[in-house]
Each structure stands twice: as C-alpha cells, then as structure tokens.
C-alpha cells in the first residue's frame, strides 16, 4: 500500500504542477465587432413624393427618351450623373494600372464582345439607341431611368432593339409562341422607386444570356431567397436589396468586379466613410468580426467569402462552367441549326453558340487575389499555345493587399486570328448576311466584327482555350454553414492548391515531424522505464520486509 502511495503521490504532484499554471490563464481576448442594428442600415422605403401626381408624368409616353425628358425636368442632374457611370459608358479605367477596360473594350469568356452586336447587347445598357459606334454618349434623354427604377415589373428590354423597351407586342424568343407585351410607360413612370433586386437582376441575373450562366452567385433564386442561400438577402430575414451593400452616391454604384476591395482593414464603419468600396463585408463587420481570437487571426490571409461562401450556385439554376465556341455552326443531322438541353433542362448545345457545361452547388477554386485584374482588351496579343487568361488575377502570398479568395473559373474556347495572334471580335447577332447566328459563317462574322473593332483580320481563324476568373462575393451562407477548420486544415482540403502560407495539418516538415515524434517516443520510453523501475524497486523493498 505504501509503495503504491509512493508512486501515486508524486504523480499527482507532477500533474498538479502541470495543471496549476492554467488557473492563471485568461481566455484570449476576442476583438469581435458586432454589426450595428439593422435599423441603422436599412432606410425606410416610403417615398416623400407621389410621382402619379406630377404633371410632367401625366401623359401618354410613346418612347423611353420621352420619359427621361420628363424625369429630367425635376431631376436635373440625374442624367449627367449616370453618364459618368459604367452602367452608361461600359468603360472603366483601373486606378492602379491605368488599363482602360469595361464591356466596350474587353473580350470576355461568354458572349465575347458587344462590338458590332450593339443592337442585341444593349438590352442591358442603361440607355436608348446604342446600335453602333455612332452612339452619342452626351445626349441626356437617351439615359434609361426606368430600367433601374421601374417598380411595376412590366418594363422589359429585349435583344435587337438597341436598348429601347418593348413598344409593341412581340413574339420572344422568335418562333416560341410566347409574347411580350409593351409596358404602359405612363404607369411605369408614375410608379418609379428605388432599385430593387428585380431591377438589378433583370440584367445581372442573366449575364451571358441565361439565368445564372455568367456569375454563378447571381441568378433568379436571389429574387426570393431563403436563409440558406443568402443570409443577408433572406426574404424572411434581413431581406437586403442589392443597394444595401452596393450603396450608391450620385448614381455611382459601389462594389464592382473591376475594382474589388480584396483586403479591407479596420473597424466597421457602415456608410459615410469615403473609401474605395463600402460594398465590402468589413464595412459592417470590421476585419475582426469573430468572438474567437483564433478566427480573427485568419482575416489577414483569408477573404471573408472564402469561409462564408462554401459553394456557389447553390440551387437548381446552376451556372455555366464552360462555353466552347468552336462547336458553333455545327448543324443537326438534318443539316439545320439545332439546340439541345442537359439533364437539368439547361442549354447544352446551340448551333449558333456552341456547347456549354453547367454545374450547380459548385466548390470554388481558391487563389490569392489583391483586387487587381488585368483584362484582355480587343487587340491584345495572345500565345495560342497556352490557355489564354481573359483576366490575369493579381495577388500573391507576399502582397499585404492580397487575400485568399473563392473564385469561379470559367473555361472556354474562343476564335482567334491565327496570323495576328489576337482574339477576334465576331458579329454574331442580327439578321444581316454576315451575322453568325443568321448565316453560320465564321469568316463573314469575324470579318464584320473585326472591321467594327477597327482591327485587321488575316482571314485565318482558329480556336484557343481560355479562362476567366471572377471572385465570388454573393450567396453568403449562414455562419453555421461556414467552412469548418478541417475543410482547409487537411491534406486534401479546400486550400490544397494555395501556396506561400503554412497551414497546420495541411503542411508538414519531415525533420520537424521526426524530431517531434522522437521526443514523444523518448518521453513514453522514459515513463515506462521509470515506472518499471519504481515497481521493481518497490517489490524488492516489500520482499525485504
């Protein structure tokens, strides 16, 4: 009994010595900043003006520009303001690199370029009448107020009308048997309001010509989203409109993929602080939003979205993973243009446009990103032996302005000039004999497109693989569904491809591991030897007694 006590008492003493310091340990201070109460964020929607009582709006408008002229009687500066925005110019200059980009100048990975296709593409221009390069960007009555301010849901702009709304009943799509009714412009003008999700979504949900096709984190499911899909836009919860985050001043909408604030630092400030992008999460949540200090330590390496948007396109709508233009002009077995759909009913092939691959509940691809993307603008040289990056995403682990971001990488194949080595501009939309979707002739389509782009075309085209990368900022999941530690801190975790940062459980050092395990084994051996000796010597003493 005594020998046992001799063994147990020192063991207890040693344990007590080890445990005692923890009594003085204080939990690490969490620097969490709680987002302010909603009342301070969401403004009441009731307007101080009843537009149906305005004399200027009490007339039967025949065209969109007539409505704008009436709007400008009171809102004298509105058109001038809009004319300084990307929604009007389709052009922007990168403040960091000086590169002039925007839809007008770049070639994207979807419909490629609006040049020579303006009559169709301008269905999503906040203006009227842009049908070719003769469009006058200074005419104020051509600013389209209603596309952003209509609250009736009846105001529609269709491809082919150069940005004008439907003025007379029309079958759309042609041959479908479905008809679009013209909007009552007087009623629409008298019912205007602040932009809602419907207004923004009428274009941004349908990028690349299909619901959810382009973005992956923007589609019609955000019209009436549940909590699971977006914790901020949840219709039965916070119910944010787009403009709550994309706060607007003088019609300048904050938060653009062209100027992404990739690494916002500092406390929450909501609105009012002049910075480059109040649309960032940190504007409300600060860069130390968690109660656990350990989680806050991640914010200098990770974008909020990395953990809080575990997947994008989290619905049946899905999003396009790739678009292969090289398959366009292939006809059906009967020699006529054909279309087909995938198993989920989404477009899969169209003789006009090629093939698509769709996916939903997509795991993002992660990469370092500092908010700067350099785009391929029309005429930029390419190396066709490599995958052409439509936008080179800036950022590195050593850049203090970089964070690890979730992205959608859209892959495709696009036509290029084999002699001049640049991506081509093609005239796709239209009823004329050179339009690809009318005559299915690449040479004619590229010839017309390049002429409109004012670039020479050699007459020889090929197809090159392309990639376009977009950061994923929407579809923020409830905090309970954020990525768990192990989803990144593991050998085959989400961030297995991220270089330049040491991640416990993902990374290891052979020598360090060897030293550690040797220490563990030696300790175990020491304990075993020590214990054995104690037992052995205790037994001997007992025998002596």
């Amino acid at each position: 009994m005594l020998s046992r006590l001799k063994f147990i008492l020192p063991l207890m003493a040693a344990s007590a010595l080890l445990v005692a310091p923890t009594a003085y340990a204080v939990p690490a201070k969490a620097e969490a900043v709680i987002a302010p109460q909603l009342e301070t964020i969401i403004k009441p929607k009731a307007s101080t003006a009843d537009h149906s009582k305005f004399k200027e709006l009490n007339r039967n408008f025949q065209t969109g520009p007539q409505v704008t002229e009436a709007c400008l009687v009171c809102h004298t500066e509105a058109a001038k303001q809009v004319q300084h925005t990307k929604h009007w110019t389709w052009e922007s200059t990168d403040p960091k690199t000086g590169q002039v980009r925007g839809k007008k100048n770049i070639i994207n990975n979807y419909c490629t370029s609006p040049v020579s296709n303006e009559k169709d593409c301008m269905a999503c221009h906040a203006g009227y009448g842009w049908k070719d390069d003769s469009f006058d960007f200074k005419v104020e009555k051509n600013v389209d107020c209603l596309i952003c301010h209509d609250t009736t849901g009846t105001y529609r702009k269709l491809p082919g009308d150069a940005g004008h709304p439907v003025y007379k009943r029309v079958e759309f799509p042609k041959g479908s048997g479905k008809f679009v009714e013209p909007a009552d412009l007087k009623k629409v003008a008298q019912s205007i309001g602040m932009p809602s999700r419907s207004n923004c979504g009428s274009c941004h949900f349908f990028g690349a010509g299909g619901n959810g096709a382009k973005h992956g984190d923007l589609d019609t499911s955000l019209q009436h989203p549940g909590k699971y899909l977006d914790v901020h836009m949840n219709e039965k919860g916070l119910n944010f409109d787009c403009t709550v985050c994309h706060a607007t001043s003088s019609h300048q909408v904050s938060g653009s993929r062209y100027n992404v604030a990739a690494a916002v630092k500092g406390p929450a400030h909501i609105r009012g602080k002049k910075d480059e992008s109040p649309a960032a999460c940190q504007s409300c949540h600060s860069d130390k939003p968690h109660h656990e200090a350990m989680l806050n330590q991640h914010t200098d390496k990770l974008a909020c979205q990395t953990c809080h948007i575990p997947e994008y396109a989290r619905n049946e709508v899905g999003t396009e993973a790739s678009w292969d233009w090289s398959q366009a002009t292939i006809m059906g077995p009967d020699g006529k243009p054909t279309v087909s759909k995938d198993s989920a009913g989404r477009r899969k092939f169209d003789s006009k446009k090629g093939t698509w691959v769709w996916d939903s509940y997509v795991i993002p691809e992660y990469r370092w990103y500092n908010g700067v993307s350099t785009y391929k603008v029309i005429g930029d040289k390419i190396d066709p032996s490599k995958v052409v990056q439509i936008n080179d995403v800036g950022g590195s682990p050593n850049d203090p302005d970089s964070r690890i971001w979730p992205t959608k990488v859209h892959r495709g194949k696009q036509p290029y000039d084999k002699v001049n080595n640049y991506l081509t501009v093609q005239h796709t939309a239209g009823e004329d004999h050179t339009a690809l979707w009318h005559n299915f002739d690449w040479q004619k389509a590229i010839g017309t497109g390049m002429k409109a782009a004012k670039l020479p075309y050699s007459g020889e085209n090929g197809f090159v693989s392309t990639e376009m990368t977009r950061p994923i900022p929407h579809m923020v999941a409830p905090k309970e569904d954020a990525l768990s530690c192990a989803q990144c801190h593991s050998k085959n975790g989400r961030l297995q491809g991220i270089e330049g940062v040491y991640m416990p459980s993902r990374d290891s050092n052979k020598w360090l591991d060897m030293v550690g395990w040797t220490l563990v084994l030696l300790s175990l051996l020491g304990v075993l030897i020590h214990g054995s000796l104690r037992i052995y010597t205790g037994k001997n003493k007992g025998q002596h007694k």
């Binding site: 549940g226 699971y228 087909s340 995938d342 198993s343 989920a344 939903s360 997509v362 795991i363 409830p478």
Partner: protein
Amino acid sequence: MLKVLGGFIAGVVVVVLVAYNSMGSMMFREISSPYGVEETVARIQQNIQNAGNGWSLSGLRNAAKPIELDGGNVLPVLMIEACSTKYSGPILKDDSLRFLSNLMPCKISVYKKNDGKTYIGMMNAELIGSLFGSMVGGIMKQVSADQAKFIVFDASKPAPAMIKGTPGAASSGSGAGAAGGC
C-alpha cells in the same frame, strides 16, 4: 484446456470486432460517377426504365431541400426511388416478411462531396437479403444483379432529361405511388 477455451473466446471476440467494424461498408456501396449530379440521376433513371423485370421509377427526392428550407446548407443529395413488382410482390404477400416493406422502394442516392465529384450510393441488396432466409435472399440477389446494371453508363448516348417527382403517382392516400410499382 483453459488455454484452448481462452483462445477460442479471444478468436470469437476478434471476429465480432472485425465484423462490427466493417459491417457498415459491406452493407452499402459507394462509387464515383463521371457525370454531374443531374446527368448521373438522369442516366440511372433511364437505365431503370429500360431494365425490364418490372422495374419502374417511384420518385426522386432531394434530401437537401428540407435542410435548405430550414435555413441550412448541404450539398445536393438526390435519391432515386425505384421498385419492381416482380420482386416486391412475393415479399409483400408473405405476412412474416411484410416488415421488409421498410426496404421499399429501392433507393439509389446520387450526391456531391466536398471534392466537387459526384458519387452514387446504394445498398448491398444481396448481402442484406441473405440475412432474411433463402426466399428473400434469392430475390434480393436478383435485385442486386439488376442494380448493378442501373449504374452502367453508355457515354455514347446523349444525356437524357432528369425525371422529377413521382411519375404517374397519386398525390396521397393508399393509392400514392401506384404507378411507381410499389
């Protein structure tokens, strides 16, 4: 003698432990699919419809949907339900076996995992059937053979459309799912 008995008991314990540990993976199978979730579902559905032997689709459920409606997120899990009257009939006719209706209709689940790949999960009908005597074992062996054909894909054939819901089923009551075979 004591040593022999001890060795025997130890052997039994080891066998039970091994069986307990591996029983789960023996009762269910998981394979990866070369297609996305929807196309995998559609191709399996098509295979079921073409399988003969009385097979027909009983329904398609998305087990993730109720969780989404409750505000949570899980990757999609689509459960294809199928039944064959040829196999279900004899079992359902026998009072002593009617409790096995719990296993009906047969389910094949198609789901995505965090690696972004699509997987197919299904029950090992043959093994489970063998636990319930020769008659059930024999039927379930045939079910198992048919199930193996459900997941053979012909890449040369175009992707069919996914069939949503329960084809031809009544909405509720004892007639529900009548057209689905079970």
